[in-house]
């Protein structure tokens, strides 16, 4: 039975009063002692965006700019025998036509990974071989998009077709063979695999009263940022290459460009300005190398902007997967052993590939720690679009399987699935034996219980069968844990530099990537908090690899955790420098001073000592001993705080047509202290929309014969519209994570994770049919219903 944790190492909840459950931003923001943390602060890039003044890459014109266009492979797997480019080259207005002969024969991996990247370096900017329909074949640069498009049509490619591998099962069956269908020589189409066993599975299963096995199937989905992938490349006056890209990883991009282009890192400058959404897709180096090559060849600025169709097929996708789970459980509902096997499809190139599966295996033991567990992961190459990073990095797949499996177990045991979860869920203070996480703050039980109350779980879940004859009602839930960076797999760092200006305003330089999630705003809040100045007085400069501190970028929901820590430290250093200076000047004890509301105050009595702007001006222009206040600080990860959450979903299913109507979602998150509630809610609500589409509508369909993507557009690929959204209640269970400055944890990716399994579990609750494959399109639900009709 579920008992309240009595672990003395209750550090995360050390002050019971600081655990707040905040429903729909009803929090009284005046209660906290902070000036900016947790207070309403309007994102400062909202005004330029809402007035159309924000210049995204496509909005910036350059003199003499050429337009790039790609010749895409029309074959799933083929050697290129020849490419006829002469007609295209002769077309007036065409300035360059590139084939594999014209680019460095340097291999790289497109994944925005840290260095050294041990992923297969299996790509060239252009290659002699194509590996999926939509692979790069050739590129042109021309004076107008129309000429570029015409030139592309004039290029004739002669292919020698090879057998194509168009399903992951086929790829797996070929491991042992060494056939012409090998996509990358010497791999047998196995990109990577790994196996972990902790404890003894034999012993664990022997202790179980029941063993439940399931198999789940997950589709390929695509990120669909509304801004398609785009980059510009040009040369500075000095002849140095500038690549301006809608990227999540400016510094990784610079390093990978250097590798692919065979140029020194210092000879490349990467710029990132406004980015129209990423969701992981812009964590890969996709179109930048070829854009740069076109600029190198033409010596002119080149812009390459993908069409929606190109973006769907030729950037990245989320891995499709087949996941098998086997769990032993006692009559009392305690899990004794759990095994998982995953087959993951990386498509034509490794990209983030098997790293995503590594991430799954690191999260596998976290939510429900088990003494005996095994994990087997295999990632295969296929002649399908490249799969790589997407919001949650494998955990959407893992969590869908785990949380659907939990409900299947509960169904077989005839127990409440919430009880089963509470019996096994991780507790505060838990140290994970395999991956060195410690759980230092943990609100998972509060998340579950809060959702249970709000959704009227007991009544609604049990009474689902009593719904109408046609419309069946169902309530489901699922929960998750998720990291706040990539430690300990990467020794990662993040930087921040703050110039406290002469007027007491601050310029904050960061290498972190604002891509719409609001991170620049949060960083400004943190700087303002520690500097004691108005939020509006912090100006964020990001990202120019020439002037901004190094950072890994926007992934692993790491920026508030990692860059936030660097900003915090840099701001503290600037503040301390100013306080020390003031103390010396005014013959006070620096330790007795603090900053707040633009003033330096005496801590004890709040007496105003000097205005920050006056002190700063004084420091810069001190006649004898001028002091410029500027600090650059790097934060290195030393742990990886776990965020938690539970999602509850209320559905109505039309038991005649199979159509699922999602009525309401409760998303309850323990992301520690919330720094900006409006933005945090926005992240969660957006996560709900992406997660519900994973459950119900989105899937990239590929012709099993040709390998062509059938639905490469936003009509046939079903991103939710405003009318597909349920009512959403966002709730924050604010634990205090002791390792971060304000007690905060990750949120961006967590938002999406448990939405799909919660919906799936609600549909199962409504229909009493186990669906183990998504999306639950009306036809798929119908096919499940047909089986029950036939059985009757």
């Amino acid at each position: 039975m579920h008992e309240k944790d009595s672990n003395p190492a209750n550090v995360g909840l050390k002050e019971k009063s600081r655990l707040e459950i905040v429903v729909n931003a009803s929090k009284d923001e005046s209660k906290t002692e902070y000036q900016h943390i947790g207070k309403k602060r309007v994102r400062f890039d909202a005004k330029p965006k809402v007035t159309g003044k924000a210049k995204y890459i496509a909005d910036i014109k350059m003199d003499g700019m050429l337009y790039g266009k790609i010749v895409w492979s029309t074959k799933a797997h083929a050697n290129i025998k020849s490419i006829q480019t002469d007609l295209a080259e002769k077309l007036p207005g065409v300035h360059a036509v590139l084939t594999w002969k014209d680019v460095p024969r340097k291999q790289y991996c497109q994944a925005g990974h840290p260095y050294p990247d041990d992923s297969p370096q299996d790509q060239y900017i252009l290659d002699k071989k194509v590996r999926f329909v939509g692979d790069y074949v050739a590129a042109v640069a021309a004076e107008t998009p129309e000429i570029a498009e015409q030139a592309v049509k004039l290029i004739k490619v002669d292919y020698e077709e090879l057998p194509a591998v168009l399903s992951m099962e086929t790829a797996r069956d070929m491991f042992a063979q060494n056939s012409s269908a090998e996509i990358h020589a010497g791999t047998g189409n196995l990109q990577e695999d790994h196996f972990i066993e902790i404890g003894s599975m034999e012993k664990g299963f022997a202790e179980a009263d029941m063993i439940v096995e399931d198999e789940f199937k997950l589709p390929i989905v695509q990120h669909c940022p509304i801004e398609t992938h785009i980059s510009k490349a040009y040369f500075e006056d000095t002849g140095r290459l500038v690549v301006h890209s809608a990227t999540q990883v400016p510094f990784h991009l610079r390093r990978i460009l250097s590798q692919a282009l065979d140029l020194p890192i210092g000879d490349i400058r990467v710029l990132k300005t406004y980015v129209g959404g990423g969701f992981g897709s812009k964590e890969d180096v996709t179109l930048e190398p070829i854009t740069a090559m076109l600029a190198i060849k033409t010596k002119r600025p080149v812009q390459l902007e993908f069409t929606r169709e190109e973006n769907m097929v030729s950037t990245v996708t989320r891995h499709s997967a087949i996941i098998k789970l086997k769990t032993g459980v006692t009559k009392a509902g305690k899990i004794t052993a759990r095994g998982m096997e995953i087959l993951s499809n990386t498509g034509a190139y490794a990209a983030h590939g098997h790293c995503v599966v590594w991430n799954m295996s690191s999260h596998f033991p976290t939510l429900y720690p088990v003494e005996n567990l095994s994990f087997k992961g295999e990632t295969v190459y296929t002649n399908m679009p490249v799969a790589s990073a997407m919001r949650s990095y494998g955990i959407s797949q893992l969590n869908f399987a785990m949380e659907s499996h939990m409900d299947n177990i509960a169904r077989q045991m005839n127990v409440d699935p919430i009880e089963l979860r509470l019996n096994n869920v991780v507790k505060l203070g838990h140290k994970d034996p395999s991956v060195i996480y410690t759980i230092d703050s943990c609100g998972i039980e509060e998340c579950i219980n809060s959702g249970k109350n709000m959704s009227d779980w007991k009544k609604r879940h049990e009474e689902s069968a009593e719904s109408g004859e046609v419309i069946k009602k169902g309530l489901g839930m699922a929960c998750f844990s998720y990291q706040s960076n990539t430690y300990p797999f990467n020794e990662e760092i993040a930087g921040a530099r703050i110039k406290l200006n002469e007027d007491g305003s601050a310029t904050l330089f960061i290498g972190a990537a604002e891509i719409g999630q609001g991170s620049d705003t949060v960083m400004a809040q943190i700087a303002a908090e520690e500097l004691g100045i108005a939020y509006e007085r912090v100006k964020v400069i990001a990202v120019d690899t020439d002037i901004c501190p190094f950072d890994f970028g926007a992934y692993a929901s790491r920026q508030t955790n990692m860059t936030g820590a660097a900003v915090h430290k840099a701001a503290v250093k600037c503040r301390d420098a100013l306080l020390n200076y003031t103390a010396e000047l005014m013959e006070l004890d620096a330790a007795s001073l603090m900053v707040r509301d633009g003033w330096i105050l005496e801590k004890d009595n709040g007496k105003q000592v000097i205005e920050i702007k006056e002190a700063a001006m004084n420091a810069y222009y001190n006649h004898d001993n001028p002091l410029a206040i500027s600090h650059e600080v790097y934060h290195k990860a030393t742990n990886n705080p776990m965020a938690f959450g539970a999602v509850f979903a209320d559905v109505e299913v039309d038991s005649i047509t199979g159509r699922v109507n999602l009525k309401k979602v409760w998303a309850i998150h323990d992301s520690g202290t919330i720094i900006n509630h409006k933005q945090a809610e926005g992240q969660v609500e957006g996560g709900v929309s992406m997660g519900l589409a994973y459950a119900l509508s989105e899937q990239m369909l590929i012709d099993p014969k040709s390998g062509r993507v059938l639905n490469d557009n936003l009509l046939d690929y079903k991103v939710p519209t405003m009318m597909d959204m349920p009512e959403i209640d966002v709730v924050f269970v604010e634990t205090v994570e002791p390792s971060t400055a304000y007690g905060h944890k990750s949120l961006g990716e967590p938002a999406v994770i448990s939405v799909a399994p919660a919906i799936r579990n609600a549909v199962v609750n409504a229909l009493d049919i186990e669906y183990n494959e998504i999306p639950l399109t009306p036809q798929r639900v119908f096919e499940g219903l047909v089986k029950t009709w036939e059985a009757k």
């Binding site: 998009p145 005649i656 047509t657 597909d724 009306p778 036809q779 119908f782």
Partner: protein
């Protein structure tokens, strides 16, 4: 930039048909939401366009004294949805109009373009089939009247000669007065979607609950929109009850020529025809209590 050679904008129907007569390769464009998308996809290029946008009055929606409803082919889906006449007399079509695309598309796309494009998924088609709509086609030879059921000849193929122009869509009083109707657009999403199946049912039931008349139009149940004549013939004279509805559903499937595509399987589409045709009738009757259209 679309590859359009010339763009002509006649200001009257007679100018337009004389231009079509002189150059039958002209591509007629109304709202542009189908033609321009074809051009974006490269399926149509280097063409001369004949735009109907400058012809006044082609977007009117009016009811003549004899009760005939005239729907100008240039009426946009938004106009049809918001037309007071439509809402009062043929709400089934007004309601069908708002299921099409999203608001911006509905503000541009026209019913005439939708019909002449010849798609089985056209959101106006099932309802116009159920309403026995008559299409007035004009050329320099004169006017030809084609019942909508005869207009669709194959996927993307309609009975419109290269020199003809659709100038009016008419629904006669006998086909809507006293009828109630319902269009069900079955989709995965709730907006901006293409129908997995479209079913329009219009029916007239007497005070004792006997079906006097019933017409069912289907979209996406075959290569072209179609009517369910067997189901309709079966229904007339029968009382509205579960057995009758079931009989209608079973016979509606006979009209379908569904096939399996990556969008939906044959079996599923047939199931939807069978069940949604019944549901459309039930909902039509429920919405108006069985009295009036």
């Amino acid at each position: 930039m679309y590859r359009i050679n010339n763009h002509y904008e006649p200001e009257t129907v007679s100018q337009a048909i004389s231009m079509l007569h002189q150059n039958s390769s002209l591509v007629v464009i109304a709202g542009g939401t189908d033609v321009l998308i074809k051009m974006h996809g490269g399926n149509l290029q280097d063409v001369d366009i004949l735009s109907l946008r400058s012809i006044g009055g082609l977007d009117r929606i009016e009811k003549t004294k004899d009760g005939t409803m005239h729907i100008g082919p240039m009426a946009t889906f938004s106009q049809i949805n918001q037309s007071a006449l439509m809402q009062e007399y043929i709400p089934v079509l007004a309601n069908a109009a708002i299921t099409m695309g999203g608001p911006q598309i509905r503000n541009t796309a026209t019913i005439g373009g939708n019909v002449c494009n010849g798609a089985t998924s056209a959101d106006s088609a099932s309802t116009l089939f159920a309403l026995n709509a008559r299409l007035y086609l004009e050329s320099i030879e004169g006017t030809r009247i084609v019942p909508i059921e005869d207009f669709y000849m194959g996927p993307g193929k309609v009975d419109l000669k290269p020199d003809e122009l659709l100038i009016d869509i008419q629904v006669e009083a006998k086909d809507y007065e006293g009828f109630c109707g319902k269009y069900i657009k079955f989709t995965v999403r709730n907006a901006m979607d293409i129908a997995t199946l479209g079913v329009a049912a219009v029916c007239r039931v007497d005070s004792s609950g006997i079906i006097e008349d019933l017409r069912i139009g289907l979209g996406v149940a075959g290569p072209t929109p179609r009517r369910c004549h067997e189901a309709e013939d079966y229904a007339i004279g029968k009382e509205v009850n579960q057995e009758t509805l079931q009989g209608i559903g079973e016979r509606a499937v006979l009209a379908a020529q569904a096939r399996t595509s990556w969008r939906a399987s044959k079996e599923y589409r047939e199931h939807l025809v069978k069940t949604l045709s019944q549901r459309a009738i039930e909902e039509a009757l429920a919405e108006v209590g069985g009295a009036g259209c």
